[in-house]
């Protein structure tokens, strides 16, 4: 069924009225701060009551079904933006990791590690998924929140690793042991049965976080991450294809049917891979801003920003999850690295920001807002953590749930100035953005950036001076022969989500389709709806976009040419993508990463094996 939704005239009128009201109040001498205090304006800049804050649409009576859609007021830009703590390796694990699942010791894994002998782990990490107590707003404005996090924090610790150098690929191999120490009492939402996905590592699939590989309370699960380039056992034996390098990844819960509540409750964290080109040191390789130790503001200029939106119960002040929503959940509070609308102090120099949107359902178009509502341009260097051919100067970057964008923002000449990360993409409900981009200063300010740090040396490359041509790796070719073209139609029927007219099928169903290992496929993604948008995520290997609605992807603005693991399937769109599936075998999902849609069956479960099948509409 196709649902063509027209912009509702009444909604337009309401929006206009709200904007007029706001202008009148401001003209009458009320400052933004006064309105905030009076509770008439949310920190996002919208008059209350105003659509777009709620997890739910208005009902026929014009009221929200859940009568308190708005979070309590919080004062923006009071607290420092935390830098993600870096996870330290451990000397050894007890019991020692085994290739076969160590069921007797309480391991939840059911499939033997397939690449452990080839790439023995060189470093070990261990994390506990457990409840923790955190403050998300200035003390006293919201009560302490009980979250579920990796090591009890959200976002979880940052894992910083390196690919093995070309020629000794096994040097990057690590093993991450996760333990499920979540409580039985969920405090209102969350399922303490989990599976963890390294999004979008080229990972042997028993370690990939298949949605049906549950880890129950009291169990552990060993994830083997070889951190090798795709092609290692196929097209580029012994080295892998450097053009498949990935640098900005993340990890998150992927429990089938319960991913939205579990990630919303905090089970997500970030993961960085360096190599001899993207080194983390601005004096070497591509000379991107130095990572340093990730903490020291005088030496760490590569900053991961985990962005998400949440709603808080305005009676209890506690994190609220709409249990019965199937469309998508929008928050009215924006968090960066676990704090609502924090502040970052920077020095007058270049920075690498890594933006990740963990959802649950909101899309962003991020601008850097400068003084007097000016828009500061910046350099986008990647899509989903994969470097482009060269930095591209843009005024904004758009990213939906699970997408990542790495950018270089140059504050060299901005000493003393203040900027904001501003999302100007209008979105009123979980269906996706309306398509309208708001004016400068009219969007949601997410982070305040003050350029008041000391002057420090900047040896990072200035993207403005890079000569024409490829500066990073370039893209793999898209001209090798394709084994099969498959079509995936994402749609809604009878209030539920379907792919090619079918439901997810459940963990006990046969795989929907089989990909033959070490082959190339072309996939057609279709969205016939004018109302819904879907971030479509493929695990394991990334794809390149061949066409969007019949046109080759353009290289400007909303960059679509780079390698991706999430395709932003917008209104009435058909896209063709090209992907190589190499090296490892096992089960994988293909799904919508609006995690609410994902939990309501917008997923299919396939398998990679050495046979494959010829289903063109799985």
């Amino acid at each position: 069924m196709a649902y063509i939704s027209k912009r509702n005239r009444r909604k337009e009128q309401e929006k206009q009225t709200a904007a007029n009201n706001r202008r009148e109040l401001i003209a009458a001498g009320f400052k933004r701060r006064d309105l905030l205090k009076m509770g008439l304006l949310t920190s996002a800049g919208m008059l209350i009551p105003k659509k777009g804050l709620s997890a739910r649409p208005l009902n026929s009576m014009g009221a929200f079904d859940d009568d308190e859609p708005n979070s309590p007021n919080t004062t923006p830009f009071q607290e420092l933006m935390p830098r993600l703590p870096v996870l330290a390796p451990v000397a050894s694990l007890t019991p020692a990791p085994t290739i076969a699942p160590n069921t007797a010791a309480g391991e939840a894994r059911t499939v033997a590690h397939q690449a452990f002998a080839q790439f023995p782990p060189q470093r070990f990490y261990e994390m506990s998924e457990q409840a923790g107590t955190v403050l998300m707003a200035p003390a006293g404005e919201l009560p302490p929140q009980t979250i579920w996090g990796f090591n009890g924090i959200t976002p979880g610790p940052l894992i910083v690793e390196r690919y093995g150098n070309l020629g000794s690929p096994g040097n990057g191999s690590i093993l991450l042991r996760l333990r499920n120490n979540l409580p039985a009492d969920n405090g209102g939402f969350g399922l303490p049965s989990v599976t963890e996905h390294l999004h979008n590592g080229h990972t042997p699939l028993e370690s990939d976080g298949f949605p049906c590989f549950f880890m129950e309370r009291g169990q552990f699960y060993d994830h083997h991450y070889p951190n090798v380039y795709a092609g290692i056992n196929s097209t580029h034996p012994g080295t892998g294809d450097i053009k498949e390098a990935m640098h900005t990844l993340w990890y998150h819960d992927h429990r089938i049917d319960h991913t939205a509540e579990n990630t919303y409750k905090g089970l997500a964290g970030a993961y960085i891979l360096f190599n001899e080109f993207d080194t983390g040191n601005e004096n070497t390789g591509f000379r991107l801003p130095s990572f340093g130790d990730g903490q020291n503001p005088l030496t760490s200029f590569d900053i991961y920003m985990v962005i998400n939106d949440k709603v808080f119960d305005n009676q209890t002040g506690l994190l609220k999850f709409d249990l019965f929503n199937t469309d998508g959940i929008l928050g009215d509070k924006f968090l960066v690295n676990g704090k609502i609308q924090p502040v970052l102090h920077v020095s007058p120099r270049r920075y690498r920001f890594r933006w990740l949107n963990t959802g649950p359902s909101r899309f962003y178009q991020m601008f850097v807002l400068g003084p007097n509502n000016s828009t500061k341009s910046f350099w986008q260097i990647s899509t989903d953590g994969n470097l482009l051919e060269r930095p591209v100067q843009v005024n904004s970057s758009r990213f939906s749930v699970a997408e990542r964008v790495d950018v270089i923002v140059d504050f060299t000449n901005d000493a003393g100035k203040t900027f904001f990360l501003e999302n100007r993409l209008e979105q009123e409900d979980g269906r996706g953005p309306t398509g309208d981009v708001l004016g400068a200063g009219q969007g949601d300010k997410i982070l305040k950036i003050i350029v008041d740090g000391p002057v420090v040396a900047d040896n990072s490359v200035n993207p403005a001076t890079i000569p024409p041509g490829t500066y990073f790796y370039g893209f793999p070719n898209t001209t090798d022969p394709v084994r099969i073209t498959r079509t995936f139609r994402f749609e809604r029927g009878n209030g539920q989500w379907q792919i090619n007219g079918q439901l997810v099928g459940g963990c006990n169903a046969a795989p929907r389709f089989a990909i033959k290992r070490n082959t190339i496929e072309k996939w057609v993604f279709q969205n016939n709806s004018g109302g819904w948008q879907h971030p479509i995520h493929m695990h394991f290997e990334e794809f390149q976009t061949l066409s969007i609605n019949g046109n080759a992807p353009s290289g400007t603005g909303l960059i679509t040419r780079g390698r991706k693991d999430v395709f932003r399937l917008e209104h009435n769109m058909e896209a063709k993508v090209y992907l190589r599936i190499r090296d490892f075998v096992g089960r994988f999902p293909l799904h919508c990463h609006n995690v609410v849609h994902e939990d309501h069956a917008m997923m299919l479960l396939g398998i990679i094996n050495d046979v494959g099948d010829n289903k063109t509409q799985p």
Binding site: P57, T110, C212, R217, G218, G505, C507, A509, G531
Partner: protein
């Protein structure tokens, strides 16, 4: 399977002394009196389960929260007797689910089908519908005033954000919502999913293993495994 292992339970109880200073610390941090101390379970009740009086196909008048939801594992769906599309297949699917769940339905698991057309679906019409589908005890078809049924529909999230789509009742048919009220575990799945798989998903919100109550999953569903 959700299981609260005995040793975990003991570990939790054993840590109880630490809970007091934590709580005190939390209260010190939360000096703002504007927030109420309401349990999450109570907030869920307030948000989603207004205690409306509904009428079942057996003629009984029952309160939505007190009689139907409280202390139970529940399965919700929407229907109307004259629905010609997907309703009957889903009802037939749920009959198979009821058979899989066996005698737990009516004991600690309860199935509720709420009408989308309360004017048409009188007690007699619902009774006929239930009889026609060989529905067993523990599964109620429910009606009420137009306003009350609209409230139930919206509270349980059977809503489309597009008002035009929302008007078409068949768009609210496809999804089952389920949950364990005291455990505060809730979820949803397609009504046309295999009944064995629906039973499996219900097991994720089941009582702890060492509870006096029995497990949801039938031997059959269990044999099909959890994707292993």
């Amino acid at each position: 399977m959700t299981d609260l292992k005995r040793r975990n339970l003991i570990a939790t109880l054993g840590s109880a002394p630490f809970a007091v200073p934590l709580l005190a610390q939390a209260q010190a941090l939360d000096s703002n009196p504007k927030f109420k101390q309401i349990s999450s379970r109570e907030r869920i009740r307030q948000r989603y389960f207004p205690n409306l009086v509904l009428t079942a196909h057996d003629g009984r008048e029952l309160k939505f929260y007190d009689d139907l939801v409280k202390d139970k594992i529940v399965i919700f769906n929407m229907f109307y007797a004259k629905c010609e599309g997907i309703c009957s297949p889903i009802t037939r699917n749920l009959v198979r689910l009821q058979n899989i769940l066996g005698d737990r339905v009516g004991k600690d698991i309860f199935m509720y089908s709420f009408t989308l057309k309360p004017k048409e679906d009188t007690v007699a019409a619902m009774k006929h519908y239930a009889h026609m589908h060989k529905v067993k005890p523990g599964w109620l078809f429910l009606t009420g005033s137009v306003d009350d049924m609209e409230t139930v529909r919206r509270k349980l999230g059977y809503v489309d954000p597009d008002p035009e789509v929302d008007k078409d009742k068949s768009n609210h048919i496809g999804v089952i919502k389920y949950g364990n009220e005291p455990l505060e575990r809730w979820g949803g799945c397609p009504g046309m999913q295999s009944p064995e798989w629906i039973a499996e998903t219900l097991s994720w919100v089941d009582w702890p293993k060492d509870s006096a109550k029995t497990k949801v999953t039938s031997a059959k569903a269990k044999a099909n495994g959890g994707g292993k």
